[in-house]
Amino acid sequence: MTTAVVEKQRSAAALLGRLAKARELGLLVALFLLFGATAIVNPRFIGVQSLKDILLNTAIVALLAVGQTLVVVTRNIDLSVGSVLGLSAFVTGLLFADHDIPIVVAFAVGIVIGAVCGVVNGVLVAVCRIPALVVTLGTMYVFRGIDYWLAGGRQVNAADMPSAFLKIGSGSIAGIPILPLIALVLLAAAAWGMRNLRSGRELYAIGSNPDAARLAGIPVGRRLFVSFVLTGALSGLAGVLWAARFGTIDATAATGFELNVVAAVVVGGVAIFGGSGTVVGAALGALLLSTIGSALVVLKVEALWERAITGALLLLAITIDRVLAIRAERALRASASRGATTVPNGNGAAPPPPPADEPAVATNVSEGSTRR
């Protein structure tokens, strides 16, 4: 019986594991269907140019979704990403316009600005123990305020920036647009780290049970701090890329963008209360949402409907997720046989079986009467 039980449990667990992967798979299927359906109406939708455009549109939001995943798996959230992006983008543009800096410096400055914003968030969350939602709602205003103050109504235009820099925003290497390439490299690195590094796994542990994480000796504060700094740095980088891509920057760049990012993360299957979800899922979520945006245009859906459709899809995604999770849970419960957790001869293990006449009973008989 024992092996059978374990096998059953295994298959149930495998089912759960598959479901987690199914999340990514499901997103791919959804993307496939979306591309297919749209291509039937307009074959150019899967043309090279169109695919390039879609990837370009996704790159920045995907980058932010990757960063957001780092904080969301720890049961936190960063609503300030839009403001950080805006600040970094504007400062980048400003430096180009007024100081003619080299491109490398622009990237460095943008990333550093983002990281510094991340440090502010990180200190407030990890050291001062303020809920991230509150902190980043506050810094969302603060960073944007600084952005406004710096800009003072100014706008930086494409003509102010070197064309080599603008090329990064729209150019390609070997036919692959640069922006998505950058996003892809960072995505791969993040995905590898989240899966294979201790610190990556610890982020999941923190999100799953913060108190237990502390007891397990995980430096919770430090991990949270670092994940906010990384998210900030990614937002900062995204800001530089934004400048390269859009060419026109004022203080309002990426206002309200944080909701798109959170939506992508949620559609990508990252649990909003931490502990599960992958950066790949989040990036696919971003891809799906931006593809939907493009497809609706191509499908000539009334522009007014777009937002409503996005919202409905978001709800659909989390609902399907939930239904699948409930099913998996049920499967697990059905397969786990009752009271079979302790098995006398489990796996043919070394310890000798207890005396056959001692019943395995849920009783801890006191006064030592049954223990001879």
């Binding site: 449990q9 295994r10 294979n196 796994r201 007891l215 293990a349 019943p359 009973v361 009783t363 801890n364």
Partner: protein, 531 residues
């Protein structure tokens, strides 16, 4: 995976501490000792707010001993454990490791110093696999500092084999029963190869077979020269496993002796500070009307076709293996879960399924098995918790007044001899036993006709336990129908007028008080004819 202690120098092997009976903890280790303590506490104090949880406590742990830590609820045992684990820092006093004074900045520091802790409350990561739970923060690394999953998996399988656990290492930890969670915790502690292993009530949710398995492992560890701290409220376990015992009372050190030198009665007296009354003060009553009638109750996959009745003034015990479905029945009767078939009748009128409010109105009260999650709202004050079930009754014209609540809460905390500082304190700062009293207060205040208690004395010290038993007995004598779910056979046999035995979701047997013996009940629970 090799679990043998590599440190085990021959000199340490099979060492049995021999300490004078009168030595009062703080006394220096005499020169005749063959070894100095591995870990020691000296005059440690810890204060929470105005509460002195520990006050000048000392403790010496020698390699190769199992040291019992005993004391009533709230005596400060878990607090002491948390200090050793680096969770809390002591306000006063010092911790010495190998004679050196140390400060554990955080749990990782303590862990790196070779201290493993199994906490009273399981601390698992529900979203992660069992394997990851065991190795979180110390996963074996392979190339590029990446986690070596294969090695991790092999080690976990070896650990589980050693513990005799048949758990799928890849399943997520969420959904594990409390017993399984505890087993994962134990595997985690073992995997550390620690020199000091602290177990805070590890057996509270384990079956006797699992307990025995744990003891075997603990004894091997002792042989290998590790120092173990074992906390339990069950005297038999303490006597079966431990070598020495330190007793705490009200955060103060009382005594430290070899267990062989202390009788059970003496130990209890030291813990409680007075002589105990009879352990199971059952008052004989004549059962009255049928108060609770359960007919052919079924919940798919959980329990099937369960029928029984409980009369006013009667205590009926529901016994059985862990996971035999007893708690689930209680949940269904009370309306937390819905049942698929059958009916529940309270004093003649049938009860709507899935409606706790209906159950409460009908006069049912349920003291759930998990008081932290189900019994109490930890952040809320004692008074709010105690009056939570009677808010409707306390309200006048639909409005509540704080004064009425406080009066009601005070009345019941006095009756149950609750130890607290202020009624407005969060209930979470109370010790386990006192928390259980608040749960009892909150339900007794509804003046129930049918009282269901699920593991009413789990994790409760002997003194409080006796109080709870007396309370149940008295309630029954006042005409309350009591349904008691318990995994402690002496409690079942001592308290119950009738014993119902569950097996695999079915009612397996029913015994009158006279017929119920350990033999008969156990046999029914495992499905064998009484020998």
């Amino acid at each position: 995976m090799a679990l043998t202690r590599t440190v085990s120098a021959t000199a340490l092997k099979r060492f049995i501490p021999l300490i004078g009976k009168t030595c009062n903890g703080a006394c220096p280790v005499s020169h005749s000792e063959p070894s100095r303590p591995l870990l020691s506490l000296e005059g440690v104090g810890k204060t929470f707010g105005a509460l002195r949880a520990l006050d000048g406590v000392s403790l010496d742990l020698y390699p190769g001993e199992v040291h019992a830590l005993m004391g009533e609820n709230g005596a400060g045992k878990s607090t002491l454990v948390r200090i050793l684990a680096g969770v809390h820092r002591p306000d006063t006093g010092v911790v010495r490791l190998d004679g050196e004074e140390v400060t554990f900045a955080d749990p990782a520091a303590a862990r790196d110093a070779g201290i493993a802790v199994i906490y009273q409350e399981p601390t698992l990561f529900g979203d992660l696999s069992v394997t990851e739970n065991v190795f979180m923060g110390r996963q074996p690394l392979g190339r590029f500092r990446a986690i070596d999953r294969k090695a991790m998996r092999t080690q976990v399988e070896a650990l589980f084999a050693r513990l005799g656990v048949a758990l799928d290492p890849d399943r997520p930890a969420s959904g594990l029963s409390i017993a399984d969670q505890q087993l994962v915790e134990i595997a985690k502690a073992l995997s550390l190869n620690a020199r000091v292993i602290i177990m805070d009530e590890p057996t509270a949710a384990l079956s006797s077979r699992e307990v025995e398995r744990l003891f075997t492992v603990a004894r091997t560890l002792r042989e290998d020269g590790a120092a173990l701290v074992f906390i339990s409220h069950r005297l038999d376990e303490v006597y079966a496993l431990c070598d020495r015992v330190t007793v705490l009372r009200d955060g103060k050190f009382v005594s430290a002796d070899p267990l062989a030198d202390v009788t059970e009665d003496e130990l209890v007296r030291r813990m409680v500070g007075r002589d105990l009354d009879a352990l199971f003060p059952k008052i004989d009553t004549t059962p009255g009307e049928v108060a609770l009638k359960v007919e052919r109750l079924t919940r798919e996959g959980v329990f099937t076709d369960v029928s029984f009745e409980v009369r006013a003034g009667e205590i009926v015990a529901l016994a059985g293996l862990v996971g035999s479905g007893r708690s689930e029945i209680a949940r269904c009767v009370f309306g937390i879960d819905k049942y698929d078939a059958g009916s529940v009748t309270v004093r003649g009128s049938s009860l709507k399924a899935g409606r706790p409010t209906a159950a409460i109105d009908a006069g049912i009260a349920l003291v759930p098995e998990d008081r932290r999650q189900q019994g109490l709202v930890m952040e809320l004050s004692i008074e709010r918790n105690a009056t939570m079930t009677q808010m409707g009754g306390l309200a006048r014209f639909g409005l509540l007044s704080g004064r009425a609540e406080r009066a009601r809460a005070k009345e019941w905390s006095t009756r149950l001899q609750l130890k607290y500082r202020r009624l407005s304190d969060a209930v979470g700062v109370l010790s386990g036993g006192n928390q259980q009293k608040v749960v009892l207060a909150k339900w007794l205040a509804t003046q129930p006709k049918v009282l269901i208690v699920d593991e009413p004395t789990r994790g409760i010290d002997v003194g409080t336990k006796a109080e709870v038993h007396r309370l149940l007995s008295q309630l029954a004598s006042e005409g309350v129908a009591v349904l008691m779910i318990s995994s402690e056979l002496p409690e079942v046999l001592g308290m119950a007028d009738r014993v119902l035995v569950m097996r695999e979701g079915r009612l397996a047997a029913e015994f009158d008080r006279a017929d119920a013996t350990e033999e008969t009940v156990l046999s029914a629970a495992v499905g064998r004819r009484a020998a």
